[in-house]
Amino acid sequence: MEKILRGETLAEVDGALSDVIVDFDMERICKDAFSLDNQVVYFPVRHHSPACAYHLQEVIWEYQPDCILIEGPDGANELISVMTDEETEAPFAVYYSYKDSEGIISKEAEEYRCYYPFLDYSPELVAVRAGVKNNIHTAFIDLPYAEILAASEENRGLRKNEEKNNYNDDYYLSTSVFMKRLVEKSGFRSYDELWEKYFEIDGMFLDSREFIGNMLYYCVLSRLTSRESELLAEGCLAREAYMRQNIAQAKEKFQKILVVTGGFHTYGLLYGQKEHSLHNIKKENQGVYLMSYSMEATDGLNGYVSGMPFPAFYQAVWEGLQNSCENASQVYRDTVLKFLVSTGKSVRKKNGSPSTYDEICAFNMSENLAKLRGKRCIGAYELWDSVLSSYVKGEYTKATDLPMRTLRKVLTGDTIGKLCKNAKVPPLVYDFEENCRKYRLKVGKTVKTELVLNIFASERHRQLSEFLHQVDYMDTGFAVLVRGPRLALRKDRNLIREIWSYKWSTQVISALISASVYGGTLPEAAVSKLRAELKKNISSAKASECLIHMFEMGLCNLLGDAFTRLERIVLEDGDFFSLVKTFSNLIMVDELSGLYRSELDVTGLIRTVYRKLVIELPHMAQMKDKDVPETMEALKTLFTIMEKDAYREDRQMFVDALYALIEKKHINPSLLGCGMGILYGIGCMDADLIGRKCAGFLAGTGEKQLEAAGVFRGLFFAARDLLLVGDDYIRIIDEFIGRVDNEQFMKMLPQFRIAFSYFTPTEIEKIGSAIADMHGIQKQEFNALAYVTPEQYSYGTQLDEYVMGLIKYYG
């Protein structure tokens, strides 16, 4: 580490950054930060690092502080007793939420949340546990979550528009200009590999002072190469000011204070000057809860920017170090071997082929790679490379990457944390548990149970169904609809029962805790979630799907301003296909409102969409073949709706639009057929005229003739009775087929097949009889046509050959 941080490599990196680094006196910084004679000792950490955690343990033992201050929003102080309860097991996360009803953060008055995950080897958790165990005053000292939000600019820091915001800010270290250059220069594939070599592995061979010296050097350089304006925008400077204030207060009470923070902040805590004033945000809008967490969620490779990759690997290393800290090499060696064997075993179970000899080769390779790379012992990256070389047979593709997928899985781990019984839960969890009691659902045990609900016959079943839909909408993973009407997918709408399968688990509670930012009860949370969804830039089709979910959840009466927002989305949507879907969804909601006991009136909205569609219709003449079925379906729906009394006044508008459509010069043939069919159905187009148009296509030149089948497809889709009322159409098609050559016919056959698929079996029989009559054939003759099986044909051929042979033989 000395060499890389203070040697030539750094000189090259440093050279490029010399203008940024001014007045850099590392010796002074080290002395100010980490001298055990000081009243305050600053311990810089990376948030999930076994080496940092190990040295922190050593320093606590050596320094014997009477106060430990830890980076983390101070709202979590009330959770320290739960975090250190014997029953509580990592991984868990502190969940912070804030409902900005006062509009302090932004005018939008949105909900915010973030997570602060802890693993057994997180230095902060090690500090909390050591503090409580040794009766040392232990506290989190960062700004409350809501204040951090207020101090951050839009889309920066914890206000980033991400699915999951995490409190940890190690990304400052990995993404600094300094670190990027260092990784490039030293030939590592990633920052994490560099970190493993110089801090996780080498760090275990250093005494704590040297280790902290290296940490400080690297963190200070990262800090000095970051822009102050960035730190201000992300709320980093405000947080450090608040932490400094808390440290100053502690100095009045305690003699030996150990401050455990991300190494990036140490410099700011030592020398920062800025003051920060609070916004005094109402406490009732802020929530802080502890929730169980998974290894998967803490894996840096799953998008958790602050996390280290391979949590299960480092957990095993941490456990090994707890038992045998003197021999870190052996701990890493044993861990790599353990993962090589478990990966081999898992791959073999899934029909993979690594043999014991492959495992031996892989282990040898990992050891030799470590030597070649100048590492003191094998790490996760050598493990990765050795599996890639020794377990993957053949070209590395999706077909052969099973060993790597398996390795990735075992390196991540599947451990899920557990909370003690005293853990406080938010009102949303109470509401859920209350409802479960009300409906006598089994919770507390992870047993899968099935429920059959007669949703239209029993009021209680309908209410239970609404509850389950609400729980499902909040993505808790508690209940799954196995069978029943799925309105949003437009599937199984004819079913009258719902079959649900539900299973309680700690994950469900965690999901509910993380959804608690939306509200205190499930209906309230669901409507808030819908509102948040509608605020995004979504299509009217997607918005109407949200409405269907509300409909299923029985929450339409709570929509309020969300319905106005939905109307606006519809008005602003100019996409024909999206509007078509919206139209169908709204019609469905309208049709089923009686059955689902909903009082939501969507007729006004339907009319709006209807008019928008009719206006758009003439412009849809030249569409791609793949969009044709959807458009024809839309035309048919429009036709059906227009027949209803409520929409009769718009009928002429529709007819005009249809005429405008079919009169377009370049129109998709199927659409032309469909348009004519609907006009015939309405009574605005004569059957003879349609017949003449069709005959024109059939008698046309090459390309036009090919289009004829498409016209029939559209025509029979919309008005198949045309073919059944007389023989005219059958005759012209029959004549045409008799006339056209084989090649042309084969080209048209697929469209003709689709065209005739719209008829029922009885109608097909009727058409068949009419054709048979035309050709003077009796139906029985068709029935008499025997089907020759391949075996019969083969037997016949053999028989022929045999007879021919005999004839030849006898002359």
Binding site: G187, M365, N368, L369, R373, S389, S390, K393, E395
Partner: protein, 373 residues
Amino acid sequence: MGTREADMIKPPVEVAYGEELEALRMNDTAKKPMNWKMSPQAVKTFILGSDKPVVYNGKTYDIKKKYLGNDTLVERCIVTLAGNRGLMLVGEPGTAKTMLSELLSAAISGSSTNTVQGTAGTTEDMMKYSWNYALLLEKGPVPEALVPAPLYIGMREGIITRFEEITRMPAEMQDSLISILSDKVLTIPELHEDGVVFAKQGFNVIGTANTRDKGVNEMSSALKRRFNFETVFPVREAALEKQIIINEVEKLAAENGIEMSSDEKVAELLASTYHELREGVSSMGHQIDKPGSVMSTAEAVSVYYQSMMSAYYYGDGTISMDCLVQNLVGAVVKENRDDLEKIRGYFNTVVKDKSGKEGGLWKRYYEARRWLK
């Protein structure tokens, strides 16, 4: 009589980098696997380069990076070769598999020419040994009548035997490697008690296989088990591809006495074209139809070098875009005429937009589209 280095079209690695290898050997203090000419660390330095120059005999050698690609792959290859298994390099054509295997053999064994060229006609005697029939008739099956082939030589000398295009060899020929790789013994029944060659330390096999030939003669799983596989992927960064083109072209030019330096902008343009056509998306976001033929970096080097030669011998010393486009068409449109349409589409969208945006070379490149026929 051997060819002088200056007369060779392409001198082998151990000749081209002879002095550099010697300098590295003399400065190598790390432990060497038995019979290796240098330590794994020095092999790595030779292939991946070093910032620190090596001094030998009063001369300073800058060790340049020779393989521009995945560094960790090279490390795995070195470690594999020091172990008990063979190394199999697989990948698309033109991904520098052969170059890597030559570099490894030259550094480890001091020879990259102990090679079997795999073809459909490769027989066992081309791999193991054959006989000098005049001597055989005169003296019978005696050791001096035996003509050693690369596998025999590799085992006897303790050096690496390279198998090029192993999947083009018939399956039964491939399988004759199985027992040799397992037991490290070659039996010559004709020589009776003298007929057992035990492989000397340092012997190993590097195979290369082209993934486009998959299915020609698929390797048996028994043989696969004797190898560690390394898949060499095409270069994914246009900037790196540009650097490879420049390095390779300059090397070729030096070897062939062409006194003309490479044009970085042309290399960048060509790297960008190959990169975009291979990935199916342009740097400006256009979705592009990928040609069916191989769009390897080696092909890009060849297109550049052809254009460079034309400029040197027949032109004014600067690469003309007309010539570049003609060579590009020749390289891409080989098996399928549809590829020409795809290149044309690329010019009519991506090159057109870039010529409007960047002008200069891209504009001239676009104007040369008339050669797309």
